[in-house]
C-alpha cells in the first residue's frame, strides 16, 4: 500500500445520507482519492472488520464516523475505530447528537421493537418473533448485537476530535473540511482546534433571506394548513422553524423554499440544550395575555389553547438533538431500575 494518508468512513445507526452527501462533492472525490488511501469504507468498497482489527493503532489518519450508537455493534465499532484512527470525526447529525434514531429515546426499546416487528401494518409476525442477542441452534450459538435502550451520540462512547453537523452535512462544507485536512496533511499545517467544523457559529437566521420583524405569534399551523408568504419569516407566519436555535452553515436551504428549519445542525455554540432554547424562545413570543386583560385561570387556558397548536413539542424541538440534550431520554414509569 502507498504511504498516502488513510481515510475511513463508517456507517453506524444512520440512513446512508451522509455517504451520499460525501460522494456529492462531485469531482472533488477525485482529489480525495488522489490524497488518501481508503482504509475502510464499507459503503463503497469491500472491507472486513478483521482488516481493521489488523491495522496498527492510529493507522487510519482520518475516520469519518456517521450514525448514532444504537446497538452494541455500533459501540464496539466506535471503540475499534477510535483505537485505529488518529483523527475521529463525528460526521453528521446522528453521530453528533443522535438525530432521528434518537427520537426513539422518547419511548422504550420494547415499544420500538414492537413497532418494527409486530404493530407495523405491513408486518405479519404471528409467532411474535423478536431478534434475540443469543440464540442456541443445533449448530451452535448465534449472536446478534444488543439493541440498546437509549440511543447515544458518538462522543458519549468515545473521544471525538471533530464534529461536522448536519443531516446530512452540506457537500460544500464537507469538501471545505476535507480540504483543510488535506492541506494540513500535505503541507504540514497544524490541524484546527478540535470541535465543530464545517458549520457557522451563528444561528440559521443569519443566512436566511426572509424579512424578519418583531415577533408576535398568534398560533402555529401545520405546513399543509397555509401557503406561506414567500418573503416573510416563517415563524412569524406561525410555521414552526427551528432556525432561531439552530447552528447555521447550511445556507438556510429549507426556510428559503418555504419549509421551516428542522434543526439538523444542532444547537448554536454555547447552548447546551437546543430544545429548551426553542421552548423559551417560542413561549416568549406567543401573543397572548397582556397584564390586566384576563384572570389567571382564563389566561392559562388561552395559553394552553395556543400551545395545543404545537402537537409534539419534544419531538419537534429535539428532533435532531435528543441524544445530546440535557435529559437525553424519556423516563418510563416503572422502568427506573435505580
Amino acid at each position: 500500500m502507498s504511504d498516502k494518508p488513510k481515510l475511513a468512513m463508517y456507517w453506524a445507526s444512520s440512513c446512508g445520507g451522509c455517504e451520499i452527501a460525501t460522494l456529492n462533492i462531485h469531482e472533488h472525490i477525485l482529489d480525495v482519492d488522489a490524497v488518501f488511501d481508503i482504509a475502510f469504507f464499507p459503503c463503497i468498497a469491500d472491507f472486513k472488520i478483521k482488516d481493521v482489527q489488523g491495522y496498527p493503532d492510529g493507522y487510519i489518519d482520518v475516520c469519518l464516523f456517521n450514525g448514532a450508537i444504537r446497538t452494541s455493534e455500533n459501540e464496539e465499532m466506535a471503540h475499534l475505530l477510535r483505537q485505529k484512527s488518529k483523527v475521529l470525526v463525528a460526521f453528521g447529525s446522528c453521530a453528533y447528537e443522535g438525530c432521528i434514531p434518537a427520537l426513539s429515546n422518547l419511548t422504550t426499546r420494547e415499544a420500538t421493537l414492537n413497532t418494527v416487528y409486530l404493530d407495523n401494518p405491513t408486518i405479519d409476525n404471528p409467532n411474535r418473533i423478536f431478534p434475540q442477542p443469543v440464540t442456541e441452534v443445533p449448530e451452535g450459538t448465534l449472536f446478534l448485537p444488543v439493541f440498546y435502550h437509549t440511543v447515544k451520540s458518538l462522543d458519549q462512547v468515545v473521544k471525538v476530535d471533530y464534529t461536522i453537523p448536519g443531516c446530512p452535512p452540506e457537500p460544500h462544507q464537507i469538501w471545505a473540511v476535507l480540504q483543510a485536512v488535506v492541506t494540513a496533511l500535505t503541507q504540514g499545517v497544524p490541524l484546527p482546534p478540535s470541535g465543530v467544523v464545517g458549520a457557522s457559529n451563528v444561528a440559521v437566521c443569519e443566512e436566511c433571506p426572509r424579512q424578519r420583524n418583531v415577533k408576535k405569534i398568534k398560533r402555529f399551523y401545520r405546513p399543509y394548513e397555509v401557503v406561506p408568504d414567500p418573503d416573510i419569516c416563517l415563524l412569524e407566519q406561525g410555521l414552526m422553524c427551528l432556525g432561531i436555535a439552530t447552528r447555521g452553515g447550511c445556507g438556510a436551504l429549507c426556510p428559503q423554499v418555504g419549509m421551516g428549519c428542522r434543526g439538523c445542525y444542532g444547537a448554536v455554540p454555547g447552548v447546551e440544550d437546543q430544545g429548551a432554547k426553542m421552548v423559551t424562545a417560542i413561549a416568549s413570543v406567543m401573543d397572548v395575555g397582556k397584564p390586566g386583560e384576563l384572570d389567571e385561570v382564563k389566561l392559562e387556558q388561552e395559553i394552553e389553547a395556543i400551545f395545543d397548536t404545537i402537537p409534539d413539542p419534544a419531538g419537534t424541538f429535539y428532533r435532531f438533538s435528543m441524544a445530546h440534550s440535557i435529559l437525553r431520554r424519556t423516563r418510563v414509569n416503572g422502568y427506573d431500575r435505580g
Binding site: E75, L106, P145, H149, D273, S325, I326, R331, G338
Partner: protein, 158 residues
Amino acid sequence: MAEKQFEPLIIGFTCNWCSYRAADLAGMSRAKYPPNIRLIRLMCSGRMDPEFALKALRSGADGVIITGCHPGECHYLEQNYKALRRYLLLRRTLKQFGIEPERVRLIWASAAEGARLAQELTKAVEEIRALGPLSWHNVVAADGDRPLELQHLEEVAA
C-alpha cells in the same frame, strides 16, 4: 425498623423582588418549611431559562419550583407573563420526557406572602415526596446496555 422516608431534593427559583423577599419574610416570621428546598435568586421570573430546570432535574433534583410575582404585579411590568408561558410549554415538553407535571411547579408569591410561601413549599415537598425519587442518572444509565464481548461481535459481523 421503620423504613426511612424518601427525602426529595428541590431547587427553587425566586424573583428578587417578590418571592425571594417572601422567603426572607418567612425567615423573619420564623415560618417553618422542610429543608428539602434550596433556593436560587434571579432578578425576575422572566430570567428563568428552561435550561435551568432541565439542568437541575438532570443533576439530581427531584423537583423544580419557579416562583414569581402575581400576574399584574411584576416589578418589570409583565415579565412574569413570559415566565408563565415558558413554564406551561416546558411542562408540556417535560410530560413527554415522563416527568410528572407536579414536579415542576409555578408559584406566585408576593413579598408579603412569607407564610403562604412556606405553606406552598411544604405542600410541594410533600407532593413530590409522594411521587418518589426522580434520579435522572438512573433513567439514562441503568438501561442494562452492557456491551457484549468483542468476540461475539466478530462472529456476527464477519
